[in-house]
Amino acid sequence: MKKIAKAKIDDLFKAISEKEVLYLPVDDAQGQAAFIPWKEGLKMSGDLNTVRSAKDLFFPQVESLVNFKMDGKKLEIIDAKRENDPFVIFGVRPCDAKSFEILDKVFYYSEPVDSFYIARRDKSTVVVLACNEPEETCFCQAFGIDQAEAAGGDVSAWEDGENFYFKAVTEKGEALLEGLPLEDAEDGAADDIKKAAKAVMEKLPLRDLDLSKFGAGKTQELFDDPAWAKLSESCLGCGTCTFVCPTCQCFDIKDFDGGKQIRRFRCWDSCMYSDFTQMSAGQPRPTQKERFRQRFMHKLVYYPDMHEGMFSCVGCGRCLRKCPIHMNIVKVIKTIGEEK
């Protein structure tokens, strides 16, 4: 295990950014955190979570796929893929780290592979930082995530009042820590921090969310549940929950004709939008009820069906904090889970 004094953290960031691009959660003018490349003078955000999750760095909101040139009947395909430099993401929370695993199952391990995602994923080194001060909206424990353990990345990190502690988990992590201005620390250095964090975890109001009603094979049971109508009735149909969600993975492919070239890009899309499934021939999800149901069924039933029972939610609590009308996955789980 290694450590560095908090007062010297800028030296560490500097040393990392000399090797690779370093993404760090930083507060913007309005106090909202986002992962941005570190440069001299930027301070790490004290927020528990960024507004948009770290998935943005692997599966960005907008990404060029390919360009075209059209000249009468002739068409030319122009490669739009950009090479990525290796990069480090510092301060990913354990919930977000778990979300990478969920996205990996879709983009990395399913055929055909997503070369855009893989290129970024392979070039990243993830430093996961344990949470000492989780919020009341955190329910990652329900999905088996231990916020004290900082697992799921290449390096696990802990902080206390004075120091940051690091432990490499993978070879990539070891390579990162190599040559950084860190001091040695004994192996149990973070134990007290973990203990304190675990004590806090016991106090979280949503810690024992009951998921037994959900999971693979529950489609028939839950699809026609009358509660969907009530739950979705005030949903505005905006995309806030999907865009702040670390595990939402749906996208749209769009063309933009700029006159000189036609750009085909992929961008995040939301199943909450009315045009998500709109065809010229009809609309299989005509009201907000169907769209709302799709989102939560996907996270709690369909995804587990497709991926060995794993839920597509990590309990980060972003949707609890950001939904304009405060409807969220916890209310869905509780309402439907407590029925009968």
Binding site: L206, C238, T240, R321
Partner: protein, 325 residues
């Protein structure tokens, strides 16, 4: 207040004045109230909440609710009532299908501001004098209530419920000196370069979730131009700087003259972009150039953008006013 409102809601249902009640439903915590329709007194007893976190403007829900069979009761705060009137002016709400209970309001709080004040893990709240006392998993914390007030409440333009069938609490007055244009003036006084930098830093953070549009009572088009594939601008994501500017200019422009300054757009923005500053610029300009106008303040006055006089200012007035070179 909550007790009176709940009693009223139950009464309206029980005596058959209305079939449904639109209100705020309790969530997991004290602050995450969801707009909901209540149909029985039992539901109201169980889940109806009115507190300083009942910020959501109910007017827009009335568009759909009043299309349905039967009558719906809605509890309307002063600022919501302007949207309510404006929507009636646009013939979007069937007034005969709703029963409006006006409620006096001392300002609504925002959980985002509580969190920004550094209070984490809040699980319960109470009010003591001018303070919010928050129970958190890290012990009891307190903060001045005014620090947690929504921006629109800090600069509350009116405490008057414009349209109601009955009123709970004392109806208030308009407050012309609320200072809501101060921030717009501050921006106007900047150089264009500074303003450009300011708005880039704000709008570039937009994630195009459309929350500002979907929550807006004035944004009630059946199909938005930004959702229409034939418009050429339905790009879903802010794929370039231009798209960000375009979306926000058009969003604010399309509600100009109809925007009551209810502040919902800024309240719901997950990125805390001060969107009300765009809307207020239009309001301020219209006030200055075409005479004072408050959307939703009455049923008669035409909005300036649907009106004209023969001696209006020429567009070149922009070259002389607003902002140093």
């Amino acid at each position: 207040m909550q007790a009176v409102i709940k009693k009223k809601a139950k009464e309206l249902l029980e005596c058959g004045t209305v079939d449904r009640v639109l209100g705020w439903k309790a969530g997991e915590f004290f602050y995450d109230l969801t707009p909901a329709v209540f149909t029985t007194p039992e539901e109201i007893d169980k889940d109806f909440v009115f507190s300083v976190f009942s910020g959501a403007n109910m007017s827009k829900y009335l568009i759909e609710e009043t299309k349905k069979e039967g009558k719906v009761a809605a509890f309307i705060k002063p600022c919501d009532s302007y949207s309510l009137v404006q929507l009636q002016k646009e013939h979007r709400i069937k007034r005969e299908n709703c029963y409006i209970v006006g409620i006096a309001c001392d300002g609504m709080c925002d959980m985002g501001l509580v969190r920004e004040a550094g209070i984490k893990g809040a699980t319960a709240v109470s009010e003591k004098d001018d303070k919010l006392v928050l129970e958190t998993i890290y012990g009891e914390k307190e903060m001045p209530k005014e620090k947690a007030l929504l921006e629109r409440c800090v600069h509350c333009k009116s405490k008057k419920v414009v349209d109601f069938d009955e009123m709970i609490g004392e109806n208030g007055e308009e407050n012309p000196d609320c200072g809501r244009f101060d921030e717009v003036e501050r921006l106007e006084a900047m150089t264009p370069d500074e303003r450009f930098a300011f708005w880039r830093s704000q709008l570039s953070r937009c994630i195009r979730c459309n929350a500002c549009r979907n929550v807006c009572p004035a944004c009630s088009c059946e199909k938005c131009v930004f959702d229409n594939p034939d418009s050429g601008i339905a790009q879903k994501a802010a794929a370039s700087d231009f798209e960000e500017n375009n979306f926000h200019i058009i969003r604010a422009y399309h509600v100009a003259g109809r925007c009551t300054d209810c502040g919902e757009c800024s309240r719901v923005c997950p990125q805390n972009i001060p969107l009300h500053l765009l809307n207020r610029k239009f309001i301020k300009d219209m006030n200055e150039l075409y005479g004072f106008y408050q959307a939703g303040a009455d049923f008669e006055t035409k909005p300036p953008i649907m009106n004209y006089t023969t001696n209006d200012a020429e567009p070149s007035v922009v070259y002389q006013r607003g902002g140093s070179k």
